[in-house]
Amino acid sequence: MTTLGRILVVEDDPNDVELTLIALGEYHLANEVVVTRDGQQALDYLYCRGEFHTRSNENPAVMLLDLKLPRVDGLEVLQQIKTDESLRMIPVVVLTSSHEEKDKMRSYKFGVNAYVVKPVDFHEFVNAVKELGIFWAVVNEPPPGSMKKLP
């Protein structure tokens, strides 16, 4: 018996974090949401090190990744994930303000699973995040190893 996978949100802006959580909450998703505030923290979480060394080591079901982050930026995190044998199967969705061609190109080159530009309009934003959450955390069958085994 398995339970729903976690959603890992990597976002430095507290307002964006709140809006994302509200948007995810709108649909009453039962998934556990973990928020990390920069790229370094996100990698610490994925590798179960630092403050996360005690967590159980399953991968998140989906990762919502901002590109502009303090310390280690989103593209570096993405590159690290997609070149690591144990992490590369995690679906990564880039959720960013950037419309820039360059960012899209590089993200897809590194193997991102989806690229979503945060809409200015709040309704659209809520819808986008909601749909992302539903699709990746519920509809999509995540790769084995990203579910928490129930005792």
Binding site: D13, N15, S97, H99, V120
Partner: protein, 470 residues
């Protein structure tokens, strides 16, 4: 002076012996005075003798030319510059040769005196020039006459001596000729070397210049690149950082509206609505501005584009807006051209959607898209004509400016960036834009693409051109 010296000898070389003897006797008189130009003139006179012997009539065509030729000739012959040294060499050589000849004769070697003296004459001629050479010839002749010709030990001259004298003279002339030729070649080589040297120096200078210009160019390119990078990072941070607070503004306003709208009065609700609208409008402005800046920065990917096909696509995409309206489309034949497809499509999309927008109040809108042949430079000019709101020609300059609008937002929505984008794209393709119109009588927007006509020709000539959708 020279003329008179040459004059009597001009016609023929008949009196060679007499004239040369007379000359030779005069020669030594000048030895003491041979400084500066005097030396040259003196030597010139002697050289006449030599050239006379070689090719008498041809060299003497004109006095001035002759003078110049002789000066050059004599100069070419003189390798030792001091006159005293030159004449000393002459005397010493003949004396040495004579001593050697007498010594050899003493040891019973016969008939060596002539070659030995010839050798002396050759050395003198080669190294010292014509004056000393003549002196050497005279000395050789005299000593030969005195020591080796019957009657021995007398200067008695007879016609039998003439062959020896002529032999010396001819030999001297021959060596002089060789010497001159060799020196001429040397001079030529030296000249060529000098020329080469100057050429090399010039080239080095030019290369320095080129290097300097290259450095300047490289610096300018670096500056430009830096500016470009600045611009890019500016656009990037606008894209990233400016939109985030805006999104929060909208997001929290909407949340507030949702949570508190029941407790707000109408006025407050209207304020809230205005905040939201303004924020959204700003979002659109930023997006449009970013798109506009991308048009300027993006690399163009050129291919053969059929404008007719693009118009079809654009009109099809506008169907949603044109639904329920009566629009008479009139699309003429359009050329194909080389350009960036997506950019050119943006041009047509902007122009056509403008036409649709500004004909909104017409019961029957007429939109014509076509092509006119340029009158002056055969440049094809495409146009989009409508019978809509039009504009006042006195503001035509503002039409293509960024954020320039000629209508109120209540009348026609828009950011004033569409035509600026059109102009930027067409300029990047090397074309021109212009507009004609009158208030309430519609407007026509023209754009030209410099290679459109070429492409048309190419398609006409090329039978495979049919797959471009014509």
């Amino acid at each position: 002076m020279l003329q008179t010296a040459i004059g009597p000898r001009d016609p023929c070389g008949g009196a060679i012996s007499g004239s040369v003897t007379a000359r030779g006797e005069r020669g030594p008189d000048h030895v003491g005075k041979q400084v500066g130009f005097a030396r040259t003139e003196n030597s010139e006179k002697k050289s006449v003798t030599m050239s006379d012997l070689e090719e008498p009539p041809r060299v003497l065509e004109s006095g001035v030319g002759m003078k110049r030729a002789l000066a050059r000739w004599n100069q070419q012959l003189q390798r030792i510059h001091s006159p005293i040294l030159r004449y000393s060499l002459s005397v010493a050589c003949v004396a040495l040769a004579l001593g050697l000849a007498l010594a050899l004769q003493h040891y019973q070697f016969r008939d060596v005196e002539l070659p030995v003296l010839c050798l002396a004459i050759a050395i003198v001629t080669w190294h010292a020039g014509i004056g000393p050479s003549v002196l050497a010839i005279l000395l050789s002749t005299m000593s030969f006459n005195y020591f080796f010709i019957e009657p021995i030990h007398s200067f008695a001259v007879s016609t039998k001596d003439l062959p020896y004298f002529i032999t010396f003279l001819a030999w001297g002339a021959l060596v002089a000729w060789f010497s001159t030729v060799s020196r001429r070649i040397e001079a030529g080589l030296r000249l060529a070397r000098d020329r080469l040297q100057t050429e090399v120096e010039h080239r080095a200078q030019r290369e320095d210049e080129i290097r300097r210009l290259n450095r300047e160019l490289a610096k300018r390119a670096t500056d430009l690149e830096a500016t470009n990078k600045d611009l890019e990072s500016f656009a990037y941070s606008v894209s990233h950082d400016l939109r985030a607070p805006l999104r929060h503004l909208v997001g929290y306003s909407e949340l507030l509206q949702k949570e508190a709208s029941s407790s707000l009065d109408d006025k407050s609700r209207r304020y809230m609505q205005t905040i939201l609208q303004s924020a959204k409008r700003m979002g659109n402005l930023i997006d449009d501005l970013l798109a506009f800046s991308r048009v300027g920065r993006a690399e163009t990917q050129n291919s053969l584009v059929s404008l007719e096909q693009l118009v079809k696509e654009v009109v099809a995409e506008l169907r949603e807006e044109t639904n329920g309206r009566e629009i008479a489309w009139k699309v003429g034949a359009l050329p194909a051209c080389y350009g960036d497809r997506s950019m050119l499509k943006l041009v047509l999309a902007n122009l056509v959607s403008n036409a649709v927008k500004f004909t909104r109040m017409r019961a029957r809108a007429e939109i014509e898209i076509g092509c006119v042949d340029g009158k002056n430079n055969h440049e094809a000019e495409m146009f989009v004509r409508d019978n809509g709101a039009g504009f006042d020609m006195q503001y035509v300059d503002k039409l293509f400016g960024v954020f320039q609008r000629l209508h109120l937002a209540e009348q026609f929505e828009g950011n004033g960036i569409g035509l600026a984008t059109v102009q930027r794209i067409i300029h990047r393709h090397g074309g021109k834009v212009r507009a004609e119109g009158a208030v309430d009588q519609g407007a026509t927007f023209y754009f030209s693409l410099p290679n459109a006509q070429d492409a048309v020709e190419r398609i006409r000539h090329d039978h495979t051109g049919t797959h471009f959708g014509r």
